[in-house]
């Protein structure tokens, strides 16, 4: 069953008293220069706290480290998981087919062989119960990472995610922390059908007590995975089915990105485009067209779906005075709807025009390819929206 795992007893004493986590490693935001340190070994790194976000320049990862290594997004997630499991013996994975099968998207490939069947637990098909198990394990000292084979399956775990993950820290008066990470692929894929193409971020966003982040590049996927595992809060990490094979060069050094900050993808001055997950790529594609037409869009990948990074977003709005939100969530009650409300409340004075929000259609995602294409926002629509906004 479980592989024997040489762990110094000192590191293990702290399991029951989850008050004092291991010292944090260098935390760098996506834009800063990397701190050099050995991979997987930097336990006593200097305390470099997250600084406030300010406007940034180009894609940081490639600028930061030419000596990094190329990975696909799912490999980056796996690296993040593996590094955290190596660093802290309390980190474990629960999910269907995460162990021997290596994960249905290969995110946990090889981990069961390395860490044993108990640390990488193949669960029966009982989402509500194994998510609840993760909550119970987290309350008693472990740090579980729960994988939903598809985010849609986590609808079955809604009871546990909402009532227990989100609420128990509060209803116990702060006595118990629930440091779980709930992750899985969601979003519209290639003709996967309605039930496998759900975007759960809109359903989860009202739950008090959880944080939500969405990764979009291998760099931020690994960073967010590590940050989520280290966080004392329950975090839901949204991945996207179509982004798992993205390739990027990421640093060799250990790094973590902040869970609460947005990423400046492309600075500009004409319009602020807020997006996340796969729509980032549709936006960037549209941005190429827009640049050719003479526009200068500022593209921000909001990354943190709950809480919104209103600081970065606000600074951008103060500069451009126009906002376009591009998301894959549905129109009704989606992330875009919340973001629109938040921006209107906080930055109303800075807006020259009403916020435009491009979301998916309020339909169950059809199977037919042509219909599916029209369900989500496509680059030409983004171009048109910007042109109209900037008129």
């Amino acid at each position: 069953m479980a592989a024997s795992f040489g762990v110094s007893s000192a590191a293990v004493q702290a399991v029951k008293s989850s008050a004092s986590p291991l010292p944090s490693p260098p935390v760098i935001r996506s834009e800063a220069r990397p701190i050099s340190g050995r991979i997987n070994r930097s336990r006593k790194a200097g305390k470099i706290a997250t600084h406030a976000v300010a406007a940034r320049t180009e894609n940081p990862a490639s600028a930061a480290s030419k000596t990094g290594h190329e990975v696909l997004l799912f490999e980056a997630l796996r690296e993040g998981l593996e590094e955290e499991m190596e660093r802290d013996p309390r980190v474990c994975i629960f999910g269907e087919d995460v162990g021997h099968y290596g994960g249905s998207y290969k995110v946990s490939k090889g981990l069961a062989e390395k860490y044993g069947d108990l640390r990488v637990l193949d669960t029966p098909i009982a989402e509500n119960s194994f998510t609840g198990m993760a909550v119970g394990a987290a309350m008693t000292g472990l740090r579980p990472v729960v994988e939903g084979m598809n985010m849609g399956f986590l609808l079955l775990a809604f009871n546990q995610i909402s009532d227990n993950c989100g609420m128990l820290h509060y209803t116990s008066g702060g006595q118990f922390t629930i440091p779980t990470v709930i992750r899985g692929p969601g979003g519209v894929g290639r003709q996967l059908g309605a039930e496998h193409s759900q975007r759960l971020e809109s359903y989860f966003q009202s739950i008090p007590g959880i944080q939500m982040v969405a990764c979009s590049t291998p760099y931020n996927a690994k960073g967010l995975m590590k940050a989520a595992i280290r966080s004392e809060n329950p975090v839901v990490l949204f991945e996207h089915v179509l982004l798992y094979n993205l390739k990027e060069r990421i640093p060799d050094e250990e790094y973590v990105v902040s869970l609460e900050e947005a990423e400046m993808v492309r600075p500009g001055k004409h319009v602020t485009i807020l997006t996340y997950s796969r729509m980032r790529y549709h936006v960037m594609q549209a941005a190429k067209t827009l640049v050719n037409k003479g526009y200068d869009p500022e593209v921000i990948d909001i990354r943190s779906l709950k809480p919104f990074d209103l600081h970065t977003i606000g600074n951008s709005i103060k500069k451009t005075h126009k906002v376009l939100i591009v998301e894959e969530c549905m129109r009704t009650g989606g992330i875009g709807a919340s973001l629109t409300a938040a921006i209107n409340e906080n930055f109303n004075d800075y807006l020259d025009a009403p916020i435009v929000c491009l979301s998916s259609q309020d339909v169950p995602t059809p199977y037919a390819g042509t219909l599916e294409e029209v369900t989500v926002v496509q680059p030409p629509q983004i171009v048109t929206a910007v042109e109209q906004l900037c008129r």
Binding site: A52, N128, S172, N233
Partner: protein
């Protein structure tokens, strides 16, 4: 670990449940006292007509005390011959059990009083009549063992060691409560005493208990610590029709988790009779279906419960896996203080009132010369004082200040977002301006 013993237990309950001959049944049951599964005539008829009913012979004799796994059965056979001379408890143990049950009863009675006086609100579910289950199980645990309960959790918390003051304050909604007033009657938590809640939705707590048991196994096998902590999950008959119950029975048995599933079968889920909602009302039978022993015990008798509990907890501690224990018990009051309790047959209530667990234990202690009237009265007085003190303490405690509202939403307040200077937004005064106007 004890592999052969495990194999035996998995196979035998399956055989036991299918052979329903009267002889075999009576030989493995210890018959004592007039009991019957149901007091109400109407319900009694239903049981007789059910297909897989208890054999007529044992129904006539009236006793369904314990249909137990092989291991427990052996123990019973050994001791039943000399039952009279073998006392099940010592004097100290007896007094501890009595005190704990009386504490539970007195506390719940005080809760009712306070509720009707307007000191506590909402849904308050009282445990009167079921004390034997809580005391019988929890008094065998160590501090590190975990208890998970439902909304009927005051007495589980008290038995586990949470001070009455903290529980009463929590009920009054004061900041000195065990959950700072944020949980309430249905959410009793204590990190110090390892009470993992307190859950409002039934079935919600069973996976949490399974997770706590998983941690225990993880600590032993992955972290190589010396850990034999056991988790007890308490829930009712209504929960046994819920998916989470079955899913957790499966997982606990699959991974041999150190957990005991304790069903407090009081026959009623608010107004829904157990027989009207369950295709096979004998809950203990669902254990063997998942490969764990299923035990049925008279939940109004603390000594019988304790005996079964000892075996089940011992199994879990030794790593032999989970057990499903069905305790036949009864709640004297309604489902909650808001329930008029009109549906239950008064004859049934009267019947169970004669089987009050505290009276039964008292009788046992007197009959076996373990205690006298004066000692028990002294305990009563002590407990009454503790309860009075807890009410005074709760009355005198401060209500939570408004700025407590946002304090425990996140363990790491960065969950509220970070502000312009990198500080947590909930420290930022502008943050609270727009929100709840605290």
């Amino acid at each position: 670990m004890a592999c052969s013993a495990t194999a035996k237990i998995i196979h035998n309950p399956l055989m036991l449940s299918s052979s329903r001959s009267a002889e075999k049944y009576e030989s493995c049951c210890k018959i004592s006292g007039p009991t019957s599964l149901l007091g109400s005539k109407f319900l009694g008829k239903k049981l007789l007509s059910a297909k897989s009913a208890i054999s007529p012979a044992s129904r006539r004799s009236g006793a369904v005390v314990a249909v137990s796994s092989d291991v427990v059965k052996e123990k019973k056979l050994k001791s039943s011959s000399s039952a009279a001379s073998n006392l099940l408890i010592t004097k100290e143990e007896g007094l501890v059990l009595y005190e704990d049950m009386y504490l539970g009863r007195a506390f719940e009675d005080m809760c009712a009083q306070m509720y009707y006086r307007g000191k506590m609100f909402g849904f308050v579910h009282l445990y009167n009549g079921q004390e034997a289950v809580s005391t019988g199980f929890i008094k065998l645990l160590k501090q590190e063992d975990c208890v998970v309960s439902t909304y009927r959790d005051h007495v589980h918390s008290l038995s586990k060691g949470v001070p009455a003051r903290q529980v009463m304050s929590e009920l009054f909604g004061k900041t000195t409560g065990c959950c700072r007033g944020q949980g309430g009657s249905m959410h009793m938590f204590s990190k110090e005493h390892n009470v993992l809640g307190g859950f409002a939705f039934i079935g919600e707590g069973i996976p949490v208990a399974t997770g706590a048991a998983f941690t225990s196994k993880y600590k032993r096998e992955v972290l190589k610590e010396n850990c034999d902590e056991v988790t007890l999950a308490f829930f009712g008959d209504g929960t046994c029709n819920n998916g989470q119950f079955f899913e957790c029975l499966n997982m606990a048995s699959l991974w041999k988790l150190p957990i005991v599933f304790v069903v407090e079968n009081n026959l009623w889920a608010i107004g829904m009779s157990h027989l009207r909602s369950t295709s096979d009302p004998q809950i203990w039978k669902k254990g063997p279906a998942f490969g764990m022993p299923g035990v049925h015990v008279d939940g109004m008798d603390v000594l019988k419960v304790r005996e079964v509990a000892q075996e089940a907890i011992g199994r879990a501690r030794r790593g032999e896996g989970p057990t499903l224990v069905e305790c036949e018990t009864y709640r004297f009051r309604g489902h909650s203080l808001a329930d008029p309790d009109e549906l239950r047959d008064p004859a049934e209530k009267a019947h169970y009132a004669t089987r009050d667990p505290i009276t039964a234990l008292k009788k046992y202690l007197f009959e076996n010369n373990l205690a006298n009237e004066a000692e028990l009265k002294a305990i009563d007085k002590k407990i009454d004082e503790i309860i009075e003190d807890s009410v005074e303490f709760a009355d005198a405690s401060p209500v939570p200040a408004r700025n407590q509202l946002l304090e425990n939403v996140f363990a790491d307040p960065r969950g509220f977002g970070i502000g312009p200077d990198g500080k947590y937004r909930c420290e930022d005064p502008k943050f609270t301006e727009g929100t709840a106007q605290v």
